[in-house]
């Protein structure tokens, strides 16, 4: 399942609690803030290794974040990549 998450904090935590093996998370909008290593509320570091984590590059840029400050496991997509994630995963769940 692909989880599209748009907020860090409780919304992201609730999503993470539901994850099962090989699920995929896409961080969009304010959820990209959870990608930062220094973020105290980030749960990204607690995820199992078979969970793929993506972040939307334009939302990172809009918030002044670059990959150097973020967890190494995060992969970055543009909107075309967002569409591919939706195509390659079923079902898709939006968490907001």
């Amino acid at each position: 399942m692909l989880y599209i998450v748009n907020k860090k904090g409780e919304v992201l935590k609730d999503c993470v609690e539901r994850l099962t093996s090989h699920d995929v998370i896409l961080l969009i909008e304010d959820a990209v803030l959870a990608a930062v290593k220094t973020s105290p509320s980030s749960v990204i570091s607690t995820l199992a290794s078979d969970i793929s984590v993506y972040a939307l590059r334009s939302d990172m840029k809009a918030r002044g974040l670059d990959a150097q400050r973020c967890y190494e496991r995060i992969q970055y997509v543009d909107y075309a990549g967002f569409v591919e994630l939706v195509e390659n995963n079923k079902p898709v769940r939006s968490c907001f």
């Binding site: 748009n6 304010d30 543009d78 909107y79 075309a80 967002f82 569409v83 939706v86 939006s94 907001f96």
Partner: protein, 130 residues
Amino acid sequence: MKISIQINASPYQHQAADTAWHFIQAALEAGHEVYRVFFYHDGIFNACRDSRPPGDERDIVKRWSALQSEKGVDLVVCVSSAQRRGLLEKSVAKKVGGYIHAVADGFRIAGLGLLMESVIESDRHLTFGA
């Protein structure tokens, strides 16, 4: 792939309408079909004809109208959400004495049946909210 979109949040206050619009552009570019965009709850404000953002800003309402006229994407506004917020379909407005031009070009007003139809008919249904 056939994709349907649901937008639950007001434009300008939340990012949902922008994210959805960029996603739709990328999906169309990749050759996918956007079956319908359904505007629900505060998302109905995306259909507000008299929205007049400053000239140097993106015009979210006009952008949706263009998506319908240029790409033929079906834009559906939830009738109950819209009536509660004062966005009346022409026939209803005439009947109750309301503003008859509230809904922008390219949008149509309908019920939740069309949301259900979107979910059933599409390969993927994505919701963007506040």
